[in-house]
């Protein structure tokens, strides 16, 4: 089976983390998000999403569905929430 892999850069500004990642362009976005969960450990009920060029990547799609090329920078966004501030 022929597999295509590309190196990309993942940046999470919220956690001040940068990762060099090698991904199979046929793997889904969700595959990568699942791998990121134990690394970034977002809070309870918080979601991780990926953005490329200010556009959200649909977790059900594959990397090849987007024009993501070698060296592309993808932003990791951790969703936040709030109701009230407690001192």
């Amino acid at each position: 089976m022929s597999i295509k892999e590309i190196p990309i850069i993942l940046v999470c500004k919220q956690k001040e983390k940068t990762y060099n990642v090698q991904v199979n362009i046929e793997s889904s976005i969700e595959d990568l998000i699942i791998e990121l969960h134990p690394l970034l450990q977002p809070g309870n009920q918080q979601q991780i999403v990926l953005h490329f060029g200010n556009m959200i990547l649909n977790s059900k799609k594959q990397f090849k569905d987007y024009n993501i090329v070698k060296g592309s920078i993808i932003d990791i966004i951790i969703y936040t929430h709030g109701g009230i501030f407690l001192n």
């Binding site: 089976m1 892999e5 500004k13 793997s27 699942i34 060029g53 200010n54 987007y66 709030g82 109701g83």
Partner: protein, 435 residues
């Protein structure tokens, strides 16, 4: 001679109209006529100056909703090196001093709803630009998810034609560089990047490196755990949990909910702004909401990173060195504090006053962190923080999200009959539900 005659004729019409106090419909027709005449002579600076001075106050009896309470003429006049002219459905900004701007290919900017064109010279009488330029365009699908297009190169009659570069979405990655014909790429290579051709058994492969160290290598099959259903709307991933939070009436708002609403308002405000009559639009307030993820990613004492985040968000204004104050009057930041609380900051780009809209009464000092961060973006121009006295006050432990949305709605001046958190939750539920 011709221009003098036109000036005299238009003045005469103006005096007659004032004397007989014409009705709104006729007044609108006259405004359009004068505007057309002004547009056709817009290359003549003295004529445009005359028209704007003589007819500005006279034809502005009806104040559009986006207009400020007081006239903002003095504010606009401060933009000495940036002259903006308004036309039907678009505006053209022209530099009188290019020394501040890095790029030497632009002299004018044409802004319309969801589209910006930078070029040396733009003809305001035609919608079909020919020449070399830089274009930003955003289109939305049925779920209001954006598709961005950044193109730099040659145009023919408004179409990409000749040599040009297309960037990947709103990024600086070149997606295609080469020949264009009638808006189409002439020959897009199948693979523009080097791929490693490997033989593997596993379909999934993700290797994550932190520096030189491999910290995660996935060779296993992805576990078949139950995943929450989600969908994409307004450029956010919406989940069943978001809908449940809205339904419950006491659920905390997530950034996906609040940032969806920001894009919803941005789309509406942009369209509304360019629908305003050109003579009135010059006094209208143009503003934009910045999704919470932008501010959340910024941290104090990280000027370079904060500027990078801001510039990435406003990449379409790269050609004017991200000086959005040239084209916007207000920029509104949605802020999440410590993953617990939502509030809104309105930054007035004319006097750099930071207005806080918070449903909880905090002391002024509570917001100085935000001032410090934003000052790194806006060259330490922000001196004053004001706590708005027009805020809704929450009396529970869960409504800062909906109140922040209500504050956003109120300052956007988009007409929507929503008055309390419950109504806002219902509205957002309908807006964000899966089709």
């Amino acid at each position: 001679m011709g221009i003098k005659f036109l000036c005299l004729t238009l003045t005469f019409i103006g005096v007659i109209c004032k004397a007989i106090n014409i009705d709104g419909q006729l007044q609108n027709k006259l405004k359009k006529l004068i505007q057309k005449v002004a547009q056709s002579h817009s290359q003549d600076k003295s004529f445009v100056k005359y028209i704007s001075e003589k007819f500005e106050g006279f034809f502005q009896n009806k104040v559009p909703q986006l207009l400020p309470q007081q006239l903002k003429q003095s504010e606009k006049a401060s933009q000495t090196n940036f002259i903006i002219r308004h036309y039907e459905n678009f505006l053209i900004a022209q530099y009188s001093n290019l020394s501040n701007i890095k790029s030497n290919i632009i002299g004018q900017i044409k802004c319309q709803a969801h589209k910006i064109l930078y070029a040396k010279s733009i003809d305001n009488n035609t919608n079909s630009f020919t020449g070399e330029g830089f274009q930003f365009k955003v289109t939305y699908d049925k779920n209001f998810n954006p598709k961005y297009e950044l193109y730099e190169g040659q145009f023919l009659n408004g179409l990409k034609h000749g040599r040009g570069k297309l960037y990947g979405q709103k990024s600086e990655n070149v997606d295609y560089e080469g020949e264009w014909k009638n808006d189409e790429m002439v020959s897009k290579r199948q693979e523009k990047f080097q791929t490693l051709q490997l033989e593997r058994q596993s379909l999934i492969k993700v290797i994550i490196r932190d520096g030189d160290t491999i910290i995660n290598q996935n060779s296993r099959q992805i576990e078949n755990r139950k995943r929450q259903q989600n969908w994409i709307k307004f450029n956010q991933q919406i989940s069943e949990d978001d809908i449940a939070r809205l339904k419950r009436k006491d659920g905390w708002f997530t950034s996906s909910i609040i940032d969806s609403f920001a894009l919803h308002l941005n789309i509406k405000m942009e369209e509304k702004y360019f629908q305003i009559d050109p003579n009135e639009r010059k006094q209208a307030i143009r503003q934009v909401f910045i999704p919470s993820q932008v501010f959340t990613s910024m941290q104090n004492n990280q000027k370079d990173i904060n500027q990078e985040i801001f510039q990435k968000h406003f990449l379409e204004y790269k050609m004017i060195e991200y000086k959005i104050e040239k084209l916007f009057d207000r920029v509104n930041f949605i802020v999440n504090r410590n993953n617990r609380h939502w509030f809104l900051i309105q930054l007035n780009l004319r006097n750099y006053e930071m207005i806080i809209m918070d449903s909880i009464k905090n002391k002024l000092q509570y917001y100085t962190f935000a001032k410090d961060i934003l000052n790194q973006i806006f060259d330490n121009k922000i001196k004053k923080i004001t706590l708005s006295d027009k805020c809704h006050i929450q009396k529970n432990g869960h409504d800062c999200g909906p109140f922040t949305c209500l504050h956003m709605l109120e300052i956007s001046e988009i007409q929507q009959n929503l008055r309390n958190p419950s109504q806002m939750r219902d509205f957002l539920m309908l807006l964000l539900e899966q089709d």
